[in-house]
Subunit: 366 residues, 4 copies
């Protein structure tokens, strides 16, 4: 990639806000290209136009980073899934890198190579075996032009540490995120301690992704930061939470909700929820702010709009969006015109339209 | 287009189920290409790749018809909107036709040219002026290769009748849908009477689109059918409702809801809601079954899956979808595996995750 | 009883508002004196102090009528119930009359002898047998000092007609209420037709009690009135609805709700709901306005307060109640003081405090 | 009082469950005898029959203690309230003692003299002035036949300590409860520390009353117990929580809820909620288990029924109550008969019947 573009650490070190991209697998499931259950990313090879379009939507919404569509793209996971015939993991990883680079180059974005938890870890707990899987993926990525790595969606900090240790050998910058709650990882390691271990393993940016809603994830990142502070360590903070309200979730996150994964609609956050999230994440000192499952392009745009003053510009997609509903000013109905203001949307409590549905569910792991 | 393909009337006359496509403007607003408020379709020229991708998703989900992305594409509306610079309505209409044709040809789909309500009608009530606008749009379409017309989203049956009378001169088949409630159109003409007028004007297929939720729209179509029966008239029935729950809506439909248009997330229907809808629409004798705002590709896929036995095949996108959650059978968590069955999803009442939000709102037109 | 007191017809003929009393059996169940299921009134003999106190509360709240605590007090029902040992129905009926008279005399209230549906009707459909049961009860009442009769809680208008025909022989004024929905009685006789039959049988006052919430019952009474108007008949109108919200109920009323009878708390109406009810009942031309199950003394007080201007006075219990929250004016917390006004309470949508509970249930008879 | 009756400490020392009574002021407000806002107890003199009846209901429901109806009955509060004309605080206190004794003697119950927070404390913070007020009340009580004292409803542990210090001079057993949340008292003294101070001041029984719902209050009592354990102190534990769901409350408790005090209906707990509460309180080691505002007789009965095995008997009011809905077994509707079992009621999530009302509110002190 061109030398003109500032790297991720340069940006974060300079105090810039880095807007991440949104979620791929759930959105592509809805669009018809990913199969729920194993959520593997073979669409990068099978339907590149669909993946490319989603990358572009996030770029246009203001994302500074395009993450390769390589979620769960380890050889062991692909094999277990049964979703992929006649394509290798290497092919997917490489195609995904090329596509992310192509779209990133249409803007000023960076490409992050993504690596996630492996079935091998839970099955074997073997450090050499798990590390070999990460090494293989890393080698795929290193053949291509990526800017940095994100090791994400780890429920066990131990596995994340192994991933970081492997990726660190590449010489690239490493972001590492866990999909854990404020209660800690699946082995009850508290968030502060998780952060310390990740930074000691070599992560430059640490944080949380997926499994829980934005405000909960911010709480967890704050605990990570407190742990780092206490240990006298420094790292940048990142966050890529769910785009769903999950106030009742415990350790297991939204996987334990009765609605997972095919009835989460009613929990989806509005753009206004996202502006609140972006502000609170910023106030918590987090500077890499993006999303995971449930985050669509307009949610990313909302982050970029909320932080427009801090960043100094609006994203391209704001051409097609009036801030705080401004585009309703000319509506023919007076009551819709009355919605063209911040106060209206900030205070609205949207009704579900579902009189027989409750507000909260009982998670399976309660 | 090729002579091999059966026309819309051939299909409906033969008793086939025709699956329509979903909603464009709201989905493209979220993706960053359409501006809420005026909802004009300039993206057909400005960002064709985004429109093309959405067409493809609907095709892959099972749609038999690709509707041109020409909503609100009359000269008067484009001018009022202020959204479009340096592009003519004709350019948009023609680009949209080409793109719909291109994607339709990738499957066995038909192309429907779409025409909708005009600001001119409410402003002038002048039959010659309004008809001149429809004529202009029709002329754009007739330069291109479309299979039939859909005149849709009319709040006043009178304007719809004028549209049908113009389009009828093309010699093409005409579908006509109103965005009205069971209470009738904005002039209080009951649905049965509306249907009679549309058929007498020349519509071959009549029904309802947008503004209200599926079950409410089915009720309205039933009233239309009853009106036709009583008048001794025959027509095919079509339905393209909202993909949102709107049980409390009145005449004005969802535009009157406090959540319109930027906080409708929590009202979004699940794929299972859509299977129920498809079945009830089918049972009501409706054979052209699609969606409007809020209908994403996976909602269309749900229609196609629900009616797979009647149609004799599954859509391409079902490769990436286990029926009734079947793909969860191999999940690592036992409680998620337990969701791999129809009974679970059919009976689930999804929680909103929003304890401070009510179930129903007070529409502005109550 | 004193000759000074105006009779029920005198009052209604003069256009006065007559405030009824509230519900006995459910309230006394909660207080520990009535057994849910058969709801028989043996407490009139077993625990007269408890019944007397409840009478007094209603009197103090503004009731112009004290109804004898003789619900379900027919010999056949008492026997089936198994609740009553060593006491006859006659004993209960007579004790109840004495007690109602005693309390009524403490104010300006009238005593209404209450008669309700019999198991015999459903079992036998025998007019002579059912009428014999009503005759026996009437004879008990006629030994005592009552002012008029109320035949209430009939699901079948036919049985109510039989009751009216029997009671009419007493020469007393007769009120007759059905516990039916706007859809009609259990034999699908519409409310208008029911009213006509009751008036033709001799009822002076007709209306609705129990089974459905106030606004629904007002709709039913309006249908009764329309039926009488159409038939050229005249009668006074009365209403004694549930004190519970039951928007989803059908023919069977609240008995079909999953919460019946031991989890109805969350459906209980506030005093402000009751003021709205009293106003709407009044506007509908109903002049005998009371309550049934779920109506406590403060609900009756709310009726009396809402209609204070029309009646010309406040009830005694208003000494201990600031209108529209006025007594909060001196509260130590400023936010509680801010609630000392009508607008606040009129617009409040009270939260349930139950995040896992939905807004509506599915009635068993849906 | 008779020597035959075991004292409160004898019972608690022997490990017995002591069932407390329920709430007086809110229930008597609804019945028409107490004025909301200042909630003073002049009804003890003005309407003794109403207070006596409520005492009897609690006794019949299983209460082992009848608390004197002397809430807020300090001279300074009575004066501020403006509710009381021509009656002294001494008269109320003494009448209340006589009445409590009269009813307690109808069963095996004890009489507890109740003392609560004073306006003087917040106004003056003067230990001598506040103590003089408590001394005066105590002197009233000591003229009468009471078994022990309860100092309750204190928001500041300091004032509670002063009350205990005064009451201790009587030589009677002292129970002391605070109306605080798990976050501590209004001066941020944590519950554990509060408990320690109360026991050091001489309280024999400590715990929580009012302001928050049962499960929250149990959490607070557990924190009190932990504080005592840590300090090596011993005391019996008591609890008299609200009968309303208040999951969203903070320091200020339900006074901060928008529904306080005239729209709390929908938050009212069912008898089944109370059985769960009684079990959890028992499991937490609490042996004095009663209720406060919102607790009606049937809620107390539910405590007595849940703990019937531990206590060895059912309360008198259970004559009129089938355990777990057993009395529905003979209902005419099969779907009601199906509710005659524990599992049904234990798992029911009652609907609110209010589609426009949310599940949770925003407390004013959030």
């Amino acid at each position: 990639m061109g030398s003109k573009r500032k790297g991720i650490l340069e940006r974060l070190d300079a105090g810039e806000v880095v807007v991440g991209d949104g979620g791929y697998v759930m959105q592509l499931e809805r669009r018809g290209y990913v199969k729920a259950g194993h959520w593997t990313p073979e669409a990068a090879v099978e339907h590149p136009e669909a993946v490319r379009q989603l990358h572009r939507e996030f770029l246009r919404a203001g994302a500074n980073v395009i993450q390769t569509f390589t979620f769960y793209c380890s050889e062991d996971k692909l094999e277990i899934s049964g979703n992929v015939k006649g394509i290798t993991g290497a092919q997917i990883n490489e195609a995904a890198c090329d596509m992310a680079r192509e779209v990133a180059n249409e803007g000023a974005a960076l490409v992050a190579g993504g690596v996630s938890q492996t079935p091998c870890y839970v099955k074997s707990h073997s450090e050499p075996e798990v590390k070999a899987i990460f090494k293989k993926q890393m080698d795929n990525f290193m053949k291509k032009d990526i800017d940095f790595f994100i090791a994400e969606f780890f429920e066990h900090v131990e596995e994340a540490v192994w991933a970081v240790e492997v990726l660190k050998t590449s010489g690239k910058t490493i972001g590492a995120t866990l999909c854990i709650s404020p209660h800690g990882d699946m082995d009850a390691v508290p968030p502060g301690e998780c952060a310390v271990r990740l930074v000691k393993a070599g992560a430059d940016i640490v944080g949380i992704n997926c499994h829980l809603d934005p405000l909960t994830c911010i709480r967890t990142v704050k605990l990570m930061k407190a742990g780092l502070d206490k240990a006298g360590l420094k790292a940048h903070l990142m966050i890529q939470p769910l785009g769903f309200h999950t106030p009742e979730c415990n350790l297991g996150g939204y996987v334990s909700l009765p609605e997972f994964p095919f009835a989460l609609e009613t929990r989806a956050m509005t753009r206004w929820d996202m502006q609140k999230y972006a502000r609170e994440a910023y106030n918590a000192g987090i500077r890499y702010i993006g999303g995971c499952c449930g985050f669509e392009a307009y949610h990313i745009r909302a982050i970029a709009e909320e932080l427009a003053a801090e960043r100094g510009f609006l994203p391209p997609a704001s051409e097609k969006h009036g801030l705080w509903g401004a585009a309703l000013e000319m509506h023919t109905k007076p009551w819709v015109r009355a919605r063209a203001r911040r106060e209206y949307w900030e205070n609205l409590l949207p009704a579900s339209g579902r009189p027989k549905c409750p507000s909260m569910a009982t998670p399976a792991d309660e």
